[in-house]
Amino acid sequence: MSDDDRYNDHIAAVLQECPGADRDEVKSAFQKYEEEFFIPPQDAIRSIIRRFKSESDATPSTPKAGGQSNRPTKKVSRLSELKADDRDIEIEVEIVSHNVREQMIRGESKSIAFGLLEDDPWQEGSGERTRWEYKDWGNNSNITPGSVVRVEGASVNEYQGRMSLNINQSSRIAVLREGSRPVVAPGEPIDIATLPNDGYVCVVGRLMSSRADQIHRRDGSGSIDVVRGRLADESGAIGFLSWEPFEYEVGTLLKIDGAQVKTFRDTPELNFGRTTKIEPFHDANFANTDTLKEGMISTISTLRDGSKDVEIVVNITSWEKRTFTKDGEERYLWSGQIADPTGQCRVSAWTDLPIDDSSLPMTVRITDARVRAWQGIPDITIDREEQITVLEETPWEGELDLENLRIDVPLDELVAGPSRVGIATRGTIVSVREDSGTIMRCPECRRVLREGQCFEHGAVEGNEDVRLRLVLDDKASTCALLISKDAALALLNTDHATMMDEIQANGSMAYVQSIRDMLLGCEVDVTGRIINDGQGAMILCDGASFTEADTGLIATELRAQWGLQ
């Protein structure tokens, strides 16, 4: 079918609306829309009619913006404000207890939750908290003891003068603070990997290591003897700290009831105290020490800030002595880079180790190490020489390509995970922030200056730098993206001087818009590291490029994948 034929009906429709229009002009308009803009005639037709209609009638029928629907929700902060017949209530409460029981309702067995809740969960009021019973008919899984929730759409129930709250099936529960004291059924052991970050638990695990330690009181009033160690099951391993004497042999299988989980930095730890019940446990099928040991060996990608007793096999790729002065005394530590197939990070040693430049890269096993992280980069700390064993060869095959050691991780996984280095990911640029382009940095601390002022060092003569501050989205996940100078200039295909000239010529707002014109809505591949500190994720990017994509090919693949003909 020729274009002429294909457009015939569309052209006729335009001519009917715009009798004065020239047929050939209308046709070439359709061609232009299609060829230059990928807009098929049925979609272009309104725009074309608009163009050919000389007079612009400006009475469009767009929906008017604004306006709010007001549901008659009764919003209260105290339970005492409620009356017996109130419905559709909204209130913030702390859940005190939560129990579930089966109840027969119209011949059907349903599980109904009930318990106690208290108002004024943030203790903003001065008086006593009021406590009510509640029933949850909606089987809300996010009601847990200790949590603070906003209940929306609840109603009051009064029975013989006693008021209680009904959480209905249509009610919405928004968790404002996760339960800080989850109550796990006592005596019911749970997998180490699924332990909560907080609360009392029961676990069954094999004792993997144990050593006596001392905690020094901050006020200098002495020290406390404690035992530290590690416990493992097939799901994972966790460190523990016992405040009571603990004399079990490594390898013993233990059932520990009433241990308290506390989370230090990103790492949970079990605390055993006076009320913790520890007893040997018998289960012939429980994984043996060797099997568990293998499962406990970390990789760089699994290191977490605050981890202890870490065992890992890595290549040391650089090693240098760093001196510093503390209390007027010159001291030193060793600092290096390590790598394994999952990534790269830092290592620090407070003791001399048999490592020298000429033997690098060198494969070592590090045991009992602790991990600190700075700006998302883990740093393994070695305190004693016996923590490292030099290995003949790497347990993995082939050389590590340090330049290009990047682990591809989907953005949604990165955003949900911890801080890590050496990652590569892909997403769509959905925002170019106004402070992209050139910035001034403090010569002391590299902080970005605001109106010539450093947050730390006051008014200073700044150093100019280039960076892009963007937002990268993919699959309903979002992440800030900071692109450093070289990578930014490469992505924009420009240089620092040209950028300066353009900003001076047109102003920074126009320049940011020009970056937007280049980047907004584009898919990019980025490399770098991600910092995820609970305030939202941020990628510090050292390389970015437009995703090379043949849209026709992708379209064809999509058809094949989803069976669209």
């Binding site: 098929p40 009619i49 469009p60 928004a174 959905v430 106004e434 849209t551």
Partner: protein, 314 residues
């Protein structure tokens, strides 16, 4: 720990942008808003996406400067992609750079040049007193793009739509609970939205979305001939102002409404939104259709078996 009062964690986290075709967004009639001052609002689509922000692309079909009732200025426009239209507005609340952008855009649109835009925008939702729901967009950032960038966005929007169709299909195969959905392999980020969507929209016909995707893929592949369909009926090219809606038109509208309901009623009536869309496709404005539906209900020609669903009185 026990002594210190924990600060409520109420930091506002940025909401992600969904890559979405106009039809899925425009057909949404469900919204969700927490009651906290800074709680985000969401438009929940039939496929279960909980949308606070979108990244969309298309042809600028119209852009006009309007005075609002309080005397401030507002730019209103339409963005067309292969599946339908987005309505957007840029007012005084928009960022300086967005306002500057739209001022310059208006000049280009007025010159008659075709313009493809990509924009990141916040989802807006509005309900009339009668219960009709409109969605619209408030652009945050926008850029004029090439046809290649448009095509690349199209395939990503198609991929995202196909994935949502798949998730939606999976949600039909399991119990409407969080646990069952996660077990079925539904993405945790989709579960809430799918549960709400199922309750609100009930059974939906997803064939339209599939057709939209195929149409968009044809375009992305450059198969323009395949992507061409008959010209839409547009006797109404420009909506009439309400005063012009003469009695004659009213009668015509009435017969069209009856025709539509007859054709679309599968027993439980036809919902307001579908009706208005169909009437819009035949050139009647929402206002006209809404007014006529009211009149016809009052006259006893139509009845509403349940709110927002119309049936012809037998």
């Amino acid at each position: 720990m026990g002594v210190a009062v924990m600060e409520p964690s109420r930091q506002i986290q940025r909401q992600p942008a969904w890559t979405m075709l106009a039809s899925e967004f425009g057909e949404s009639t469900l919204n969700e808003k927490g009651s906290g001052e800074f709680d985000p609002t969401f438009v929940i689509t039939k496929l279960g996406a909980k949308v606070n922000r979108v990244i969309v692309s298309g042809l600028v079909e119209r852009l006009e400067l309007r005075e609002t009732s309080n005397g401030s200025q507002m730019y209103q426009g339409q963005l067309r992609d292969p599946s339908g239209l987005h309505y957007f507005s840029v007012g005084e609340y928009a960022s300086e750079s967005m306002r500057e952008f739209v001022v310059q855009l208006l000049d280009k649109v007025d010159s008659g040049e075709p313009i493809l835009l990509s924009m990141t925008a916040k989802a807006r939702w509005y309900q009339t007193d009668e219960g009709a729901v409109y969605t619209s967009l408030r652009p945050e950032e926008a850029a004029i793009v090439s046809r290649e960038r448009y095509a690349s966005w199209l395939v990503r929007a198609c991929a995202a739509t196909l994935e949502r169709l798949d998730q939606h299909q999976k949600s039909l195969n399991c119990e409407p609970t969080k646990e069952a959905m996660l077990k079925e392999g539904i993405h945790p980020k989709m579960v809430d939205g799918l549960l709400s969507a199922q309750t609100h929209y009930g059974q939906i016909d997803t064939e339209g979305y599939r057709l939209n995707v195929m149409q968009a893929l044809d375009i992305a592949e450059g198969k323009m001939a395949a992507a061409t369909t008959a010209p839409p009926t547009l006797n109404l090219s420009e909506p009439q102002s309400e005063d012009d809606a003469s009695a004659g038109e009213g009668e015509e509208l009435q017969s069209v409404i009856l025709e539509c309901i007859q054709a679309m009623d599968n027993g439980e009536g036809v919902d307001f939104e579908s009706l208005v869309r169909n009437l819009a496709a035949r050139g009647f404005t929402r206002e006209q259709s809404e007014a006529e539906l009211d009149t016809m209900s009052d006259d006893g020609v139509l009845h509403e078996p349940r709110f927002g669903w119309f049936k012809i009185v037998a």
